[in-house]
């Protein structure tokens, strides 16, 4: 076991369990918080490696990786799930509960790594994302609100790039090549022109080695100064971390002094490529390089135009420099948690950051990290994109299953958020469970394909019968890729409810892992897409739209063929069609369109329509939110 280099031994925070389980916010607000300095010390961080943000959250400096460079990594556990109902199956809750069990009950050194949620849903459809019941990350207000400002920094950087793109088109539309060049490289007091730091990237791309602006040829000057962006090809979008449906389609440039209008739209901030870059960066310098490579669109000649061509990569990195440091918080039972990055799962890879996992692996014996949605979605991307870029290899997969979701897969009535559950879900129904269990086994097989042992965590709900839970366990144990299956009740019991699960995970982590990627990067983009479609989703084949065909060909020409694939797909089915429950077969995957996040480093085929901007319902969650001025407590953040 890794020695804890901390000055203090880990002291679990005691929780008092109530029954029935109170509201999440009530539990969170009554919880005892350790000072974050104590959490940090207990996990072996030095005081100078922390940047405090108040008393209960801190950023961890990347220097720690240098100090611990020679320490072997801990075990790397990914928590994923079966195909969920629209209500979610408690994956974050299980991730947190499992950590509480390991740290506060088994005395293991453990760190949890999860994503920061977008503020959009927090104020839209009621529901925080800090776990639930007696398995939560606290303080939940900070978790669900600004945290340390990472998403705000991404929004600021994203929108600075948008302004830079459009304003550059504006200035190019009103100025000659010479005028542009002379303004870009103005004379100083001594009449001398020079290139700014941010201009070197474009010069290098042009193959110009001359660094005296006056010595460039006229042709070079013109090429340097005129990006000649084709407005119809610009794929970079402004963003805001608010559910603002009116921004799904907009026209900008209607001020009286503008030269042209542009039709565009906003993304929610977490869908920004910058968020995916934050999650995938392996150092500040790597983040800068990825930002520089971002392709915002094409020139009229069809060449990709990058952030570096705009001379803005350095400034965007400066705006995002603090985001790369993972945010440290704690669970209800006092174990450490990194909350870091939160790429929108539908058009990005949906996993928390490489940096948080890397630091955690040096500090703890067990790192419990969560991947987005099911094994077909976040887990596949976790392996093929995140682990590939990080070089960190996973040891165990925890597959969260619920009786409720299996019943749905077995043919139970439609489950809709906000509507009451049908009787099938509230009363015992072994037949539906049994019929639906195939979905769980299919997800286990996906993990098995990567060579990783699977532990099934059956997340207990109050309406589940013992017979139902036992049936899930029994079926799971018959699958050869599943090394154990355990019922866990961390929602109502905290870590104590997941001790058996934690023991199973520890045991599984001692098994040999034979990890392999699903595909080599050298495969063509189409072959990679088809491998995922057939081997992971179980499709019979793939159909490409003409635009998808065309883009894939172009991406291969441009040298993006070696990037991994990030499928933009529904999470509500293993297939592309959210209506197909269980384990669909015989379907073909339609690729409607394809895009590339060249900076983040993946190509994403789009299956169906992906909303990148949620809306607000008639009665948004914000109606409930407020402050009790007598106690200072925040109300209504559930």
């Amino acid at each position: 076991m890794k020695l804890n280099p901390g000055l203090r031994r880990f002291i679990p925070t005691r929780i008092e369990l109530k029954s029935p389980v109170p509201a999440d916010i009530e539990i969170a607000q009554e919880a005892t918080l350790k000072p974050i300095t104590q959490v940090a010390e207990e996990m072996g961080l030095l005081p100078e490696e922390l940047e405090l943000y108040g008393d209960y959250k801190a950023k961890v400096k990347l220097d720690v990786l240098e100090r611990l460079a020679d320490v072997p990594d801990g075990k790397y556990i990914d928590v994923t799930a079966i195909t969920p109902t629209p209500l979610g199956e408690g994956k974050t809750t299980t991730t947190v509960g499992l950590s509480q069990a390991m740290g506060a009950h088994l005395g293991r050194s453990v760190i949890t790594c999860i994503r920061q949620p977008s503020q959009g849903p927090t104020f839209g459809i009621k529901g925080g994302a800090a776990g639930g019941g007696y398995s939560q990350v606290i303080p939940m207000e900070d978790f669900n609100l600004h945290l340390t400002g990472d998403i705000h920094a991404i929004t600021a950087a994203n929108n600075l790039l948008s302004a830079a793109i459009d304003t550059r088109m504006f200035h190019e539309s009103t100025q000659s090549d010479t005028g542009l060049f002379n303004r870009l490289c103005p004379k100083d007091k001594k009449g001398k022109r020079s290139f700014a730091r941010g201009m070197i990237g474009r010069l290098e791309k042009m193959g110009v080695t001359e660094r005296d602006p006056d010595l460039l040829t006229d042709e070079q000057k013109a090429k340097f100064a005129r990006l000649d962006i084709d407005p119809d090809t610009v794929t970079w979008r402004r963003c805001v971390d608010v559910n603002d449906r009116m921004l799904r389609g907009i026209t900008v440039g209607q001020g009286s002094a503008e030269q042209f209008e542009l039709h565009t739209n906003y993304y929610i901030s977490v869908a920004s490529e910058l968020m995916a870059i934050l999650a995938l960066a392996t150092s500040l310098e790597d983040m800068h390089e990825r930002i520089a490579r971002i392709v915002i669109g094409q020139s009229r000649a069809g060449e990709p135009v990058t952030a570096d061509d705009l001379g803005i990569a350095g400034a965007l990195t400066v705006l995002m420099k603090d985001t790369i440091k993972p945010n440290l918080m704690q669970t209800l039972e006092g174990t450490p948690v990194f909350v870091h990055a939160g790429p929108f799962a539908n058009i990005a890879h949906g996993n928390s950051s490489i940096m948080a996992d890397k630091i955690a692996l040096k500090l703890a014996d067990f790192v419990i990290t969560e991947s987005g949605f099911g094994a077909d979605m976040g887990m596949e991307k976790f392996f093929d994109i995140k682990c590939r870029y990080s070089g960190n290899l996973p040891d165990v997969v925890v597959l969260v299953a619920t009786v409720r979701a299996l019943k749905m897969h077995g043919g139970g009535p439609k489950v809709t958020a906000g509507a009451p559950l049908a009787a099938e879900y509230v009363n015992e129904n072994l037949e539906l469970v049994e019929k639906g269990a195939d979905n769980m086994l299919a997800h286990a097989s996906i993990a098995q394909k990567f060579g990783i042992p699977v532990v099934v965590a059956v997340n207990r709900f109050p309406t589940d019968s013992d017979a139902e839970l036992e049936l899930v366990r029994k079926i799971a144990l018959q699958h050869e890729g599943i090394v154990d299956a355990v019922v866990a009740d961390h929602f109502s019991q905290g870590g104590a409810g997941a001790v058996e699960l934690a023991e199973a995970v520890v045991k599984a982590s001692e098994l040999p892992s034979h990890f392999k990627f699903l595909y080599p990067l050298e495969m063509s983009l189409k072959d990679k897409i088809e491998t995922i479609a057939c081997e992971i989703y179980g499709a019979g084949g793939v159909d490409y739209s003409p635009i998808a065909e065309q883009r894939l060909e172009r991406y291969e020409q441009l040298g993006y063929g070696n990037l991994p694939i990030c499928m933009a797909k529904t999470h509500l089915s293993i297939s592309h069609d959210p209506e197909l429950k269980g384990v669909p077969k015989g379907f073909r995957i339609p690729i409607r369109d394809v895009s590339a996040s060249v900076g983040a480093g993946f190509v994403y085929p789009i299956l169906g329509t992906m909303s990148t901007m949620p809306g607000l319902p008639t009665r948004p969650g914000y109606y409930d939110i407020g402050i009790d001025f007598e106690t200072g407590k925040i109300l209504g953040l559930n």
Copy 2:
């Protein structure tokens, strides 16, 4: 003298002066920083009153005001300026230098209060706002970038309100009164409807005392549920803290599922009414009340629609709850600085926060606070708006003058940012100085009108001759409102260069102050406007456009007549016309339009066109900005 309740005596940070003065960023990055915990302790804050944001900045909790409720306030010094050139006359630099002199050289207990700058200009036209030379606030990177995220929180809250307004119109356009009401107050599991916390404000406004939704009359239900916002009257705007000119005129709602389009525009975030509210709030509860009162537009029946009608005031307050705590930083010589709020001076009052000043007045013997632009602009608003809401009365006005600006007022050639200065500004020219000195005296007379003694600070530039500086001083001393006039050289000497100025300010603060407001709130809006126009600007009268006439009448009807006036006027002239330098006479002030920031608490007449969204030049400052990955230093943030 107030006793310093701190555990530690103040230890000035020693600075080593170089000549010629290096670039601001170079001085800032070579500076010695005290841990902010030490700065806090030296100023008498308790550890539990701090929320650290890293090692060198912290938020100060408002609890300190309760602890020190019985301590008498320190002296309250406002720093203002004569009418500046477009280059600025070093008001922030003087504010900082004066503080360094008082604290590090005279051993006085002093706190500086200044505004947080917008990130827009930082990446647009090169230029930070942390002071300059050897009078700066550090770390300048934090100062110029996110600081503690206050502006980001404002942006988030502002845009949540925008989404709430538009989405409410969307839902109202597709649903019946009954449908709306039933969705706003849905049945719970027991079939019972209830009003959310955020709905009580609207019920109270309607005069409905019933709190059981089912017992409202149909008419009440309809009125409650349908705000019936007239889209053409919505004045609330989305915002972004980026110079994005394409957002000066936009159309939203062009997504395929929307019901209507809206023509609108973005403000830069610091122009948001929420920023003005942050600056004027006197407690968290007061902030909530001001937010609730925000008028976003009118119903089709012509009634004002407020944030409270939308049920969102609590949520916006939660988003902004941390912004109200002032941000503590330090000067190059280790004296404490509050950096807090930064309302856009052109459509708001342009002063830093009431909260920072209030806390500072309890902690220090001298509080040096800066007001925006000249005495006609920020100082008048400081007195008539900020001091009126805070109840804190000022003791001394420091009026910053420069030889350069006086020469411009005396008839010197036009001064343009970015272009080299004309010979008149670089060589001695006593005639121009003498001719232009009237502008300084006019500003002094404005301060005198409020009953406050004035100390003139002649901010020395390297090109100024001793004779020019002495002439300014001599002319100033002949004015009866000016109690002293001192040449200061804090830019190149730090606090040592402003010791004489500091002594003059200490002396002036011992004089009796006979502060009085310019106008009583009971005056009509028009009388207040005319009082400012004639008594402060020296106008012959005021001309109202028809729309301004109409709005003023309506505001009186709506009960906004008692609000103070916040003139939206150019800062480049005492008049409304930036071309009129010196002390213009015989002009009439044209009021083009009038708006009301009912939440913040002022009516703002608009003189000329006010840009609320700057643009980026062809070569923006971001080209220079980057990180040196070897040293970790930020480059190019000047």
